[in-house]
């Protein structure tokens, strides 16, 4: 049994859970506060730097915002269900679609992917934590602070109302006089810090903290896709940072950036937004590609077809994704040369995406398919994303795109790729990894309901939008009238009603998922160690994993290392036969358990530092002295942070344990 030398439960007054774990008392005060020591209860979550706890916190936050964003969507659909809808007025409708998109993109899909990445990336590469655990905690608190700031606007005179891409000069104080856009810009700025720090952290983790033997081309595919996404974030976030600063300066300090009367070019905002915004699209969908690339092989009982092609096509998507941003601006009068260049680049990016779809299909080809809920969602993704991808190709043709711009056809397209792509992948991940995270399996029967209601609901909601869009219904129009709805098959009223019914079915599907969570949480049945007969390293530990992840760090010899420890090829028949059970593999690891494992210690500073940021944001909007107070809170936190070592110093440990120089530290640095 490994001894984790970190602040044990309580101090010496409380008997430690593991009798051999030495009690730790913070000997020194760093900055102003002693180290937090709780390992259970709410404090252990608030001050944690454990990547798994942070992953769950990311997930819970994202799920909360998913529900908020979903309710906003339902309100939109109720408004449009019948002619001259009265559910929302025009102003509230503008806020609703803006916040629906903002919430879903920045506060659900991105943090949910960050949650999965946080939880599973270190496990998949055989690490005990990320490279900078405190920065990791700081990132989560920034995300939460950002999400709160964006949504606070609802209570301070109305939320942002300029659409999620907030085009200038419409986002200026003249056309959007409430403080909604200010909250939006500053909130996203804070959430952006989470993405940037997370990107640096995870890239360093992947490059530096892989288990011995795990070369880059032996990394699980989910880790690969997350790595590509982190590079996209690393380089895309600063661009939106610039754009948001310009917007904030314009709105709060009367700068001229988007003031057309002063000679400004509103296209500047569009360029900055989409230079960020197009990589963002891949930031949203690549994690889900990674998830289903894990799920499909497991439930096809075959290795992933063409692993290097999936890796390199992912990287290619990430790279080409930088050269296509202006296809969002074909209708803005860029000029024929620009349009032709970006049109070609956009067609090119369909190629690596197609490569992935072929690989997934061939992974399933000839496999012994097991249709668990996770697998259903994965297959659902392939089909729905392909539909969305095909309508995407029609956008790349500029003349056709000019007709489609700002119609419901666009809405249909991006919901097929984002709902059918990103969100289906995330749900696949829920069902696949739930036993790993919570030690219990989500109910498959409820899961089936969840899946089918979501598939039917999503196709009923977004399918008709293709027709609505090609008939010319503009997006963001808050009412439609019977007089202009058209007749017969193309009657707008009929298809709007169908879409609204679909959104209710979709909501029911999500409701089944929430019920499933509750039912599973109440169930007493523990998940088996290796419920899916999985292939990658994150399954080579207990459910849920111990705080230090692995008793001993595994030496990796294969892609799909866990599978290769369980199965060997029979030399005569050339079939795979089981040589060890998951339990035996784990027992083997435990036998060589490291004696001393130094985990990074909890800290107050990440949450204190992040808490200063919303104060600064509110100060910028309402009163500069408040911003200064926020700044002082942050300075204080940085001061405490800088003086506090990432790992509790030897003096905090018992004399006996600080001699353990043969132990493995987590490899985490000052962060």
């Amino acid at each position: 049994m490994a001894i984790i030398e970190r602040p044990a439960p309580g101090t010496t007054l409380v008997p430690a859970l593991a009798p051999s774990a030495p009690a730790i008392t913070p000997a020194r005060t760093f900055g102003a506060l002693r180290r937090p020591v709780a390992t259970t209860g709410w404090k252990s979550w608030l001050f944690t730097v454990d990547h798994k706890k942070l992953g769950l916190m990311y997930g819970a936050t994202a799920l909360f915002f998913f529900i908020i964003g979903g309710l906003e969507a339902v309100l939109i659909r109720l408004q449009l269900a019948a002619p001259e809808g009265k559910v929302l007025n025009a102003d509230l409708y503008n806020q609703m679609f803006t916040m629906h998109a903002t919430t879903m993109v920045f506060l659900f899909v991105m943090p949910m992917a960050a949650g999965f990445a946080n939880y599973f990336l270190p496990l998949q590469i055989g690490a005990r934590d990320v490279a900078f655990p405190r920065i990791n905690a700081f990132g989560f608190w920034c995300l939460l602070a950002g999400g709160i700031v964006v949504n606070l606007a609802w209570f301070f005179g109305g939320a942002a109302d300029g659409g999620w891409f907030m085009y200038a000069p419409n986002s200026g104080p003249v056309f959007s006089p409430s403080h909604g856009v200010d909250f939006w810009a500053l909130g996203l700025q804070i959430a952006g810090i989470a993405s940037l720090t997370g990107a640096i952290n995870l890239i360093v983790t992947v490059l530096n903290m892989r288990a011995p033997g795990m070369t880059l081309m032996k990394m699980p595919i989910f880790t690969w896709m997350i790595t590509v996404v982190q590079f996209l974030l690393l380089f895309a976030v600063p661009v939106i940072t610039v754009a948001l600063f310009l917007l904030t300066f314009q709105r709060s300090f009367d700068a001229k950036f988007f003031d057309v009367a002063a000679g400004a070019d509103p296209l500047l905002w569009q360029h900055l937004f989409w230079i960020f915004g197009h990589p963002e699209v891949y930031i949203l969908v690549l994690p889900s590609f990674g998830i289903i690339s894990e799920v499909l092989p497991v439930f096809s009982r075959k290795p992933l077809f063409g692993y290097p092609f999936v890796v390199f096509s992912g990287a290619a998507i990430g790279f080409v994704g930088w050269g296509v941003w202006a296809h969002h601006m074909f209708a803005s009068g860029l000029g024929p040369v620009s349009v032709a260049v970006f049109s070609l680049a956009t067609m090119a990016i369909a190629v690596p995406t197609g490569v992935k779809i072929i690989n997934w299909t061939l992974t399933m080809w000839g496999g012994k398919l097991v249709f668990t809920t996770a697998m259903k969602f994965a297959v659902g993704l392939i089909i729905l994303f392909t539909i969305g991808g095909l309508s995407g190709v029609t956008h790349s043709v500029a003349p056709s795109d000019t007709q489609q711009t700002d119609t419901y056809y666009i809405v249909a397209h991006f919901h097929y790729v984002l709902f059918g792509g990103a969100i289906f992948g995330i749900f696949s991940g829920f069902y696949y990894w739930w036993p790993k995270m919570f030690g219990k399996m989500l109910n498959e029967r409820l899961g089936s309901w969840n899946f089918w209601l979501m598939v039917i609901g999503m196709n009923l909601t977004f399918g008709p939008m293709h027709i609505l869009g090609l008939q010319g219904q503009p997006r963001r129009m808050y009412q439609w009238t019977e007089a202009r709805a058209g007749e017969g098959f193309f009657n707008l009223g009929f298809w709007n009603l169908i879409a609204s019914i679909g959104s209710i079915i979709l909501t029911l599907g999500v409701l089944f998922f929430l019920i499933n969570i509750v039912v599973t949480a109440r169930s007493k049945v523990r998940a088996p160690l290796d419920p899916w007969n999985a292939r990658s390293l994150e399954w080579m530990t207990s459910n849920p994993p111990k705080e230090h992840n692995f008793d001993s760090i595994p030496h990796v010899n294969h892609l799909d290392e866990f599978f290769h420890r369980k199965y060997e090829e029979d030399p005569t028949t050339h079939t795979m036969r089981e040589v060890a059970t998951a339990e035996q593999v784990l027992a083997e690891l435990e036998k060589n358990a490291d004696a001393h494992i130094h985990m990074p210690s909890p800290s107050y500073w990440p949450i204190v530092l992040a808490a200063g940021m919303p104060v600064v944001a509110l100060g910028v909007i309402y009163s500069i002295p408040v911003a200064i107070v926020g700044g002082l809170i942050m300075l204080y936190a940085i001061y405490g942070w800088a003086l506090e070592p990432a790992t509790a110093p030897a003096i905090d440990h018992d004399e006996s344990s600080s001699n353990g120089h043969n132990g493995h530290a987590v490899g985490a640095s000052h962060g």
Binding site: V204, L207, A264, P645, G663, G667
Partner: protein, 198 residues
Amino acid sequence: MADTAVAHEGHTSSTGISNVKLGMWLFLGSECLLFGGLISTYMLYRGRVSNGPTPEQVYDIPFTSVSSFVLLMSSLTMVLAVSAAAKKDDRGTNLWLVVTALLGATFVGGQVYEFTAFYNEGLGFTTSLFGSSFYTLTGFHGVHVTVGIIMLMALVAINKRSRVPGSKAETVEMIGLYWHFVDIVWIIIFTLVYLIPV
């Protein structure tokens, strides 16, 4: 960077390079896109003067040349600090860090003077697109220099309390990287903003 024995042992890194240094380079790569955006905004808007003075009317090239030269030389003193820290020469490190901070402060002081002079000549933050984008770009750079000065002074304070010579060598190197980056951004700004006329 962590100054305990515990943090050092078993420093297992797949690439053999330090986490902090890799993280710093990633951060600097990211900063390229931040300053790129600000510089592009300035380049697009520098000639758009609907109101107030034009760049040629306010820029004082001899003055800015001197402050640019000061910042450039602070890169030399910074690299000497890094070099001294690597040799575990704490006295030399502290000396060069202080000199670097002073040169940086001279630069920031020059910028404050420049902003005041421009403002008095009629170029405010809200005067024109040129004014907004000029102050935003150079202001962002100035904030970066100021953060660098604070880090340098904090480092000197920590270094003086440290009992192990050279224990902060990696921190000195990291802050050095940041400092040089701020310098190279100014190399670009000096040419694109000041020397090339509209």
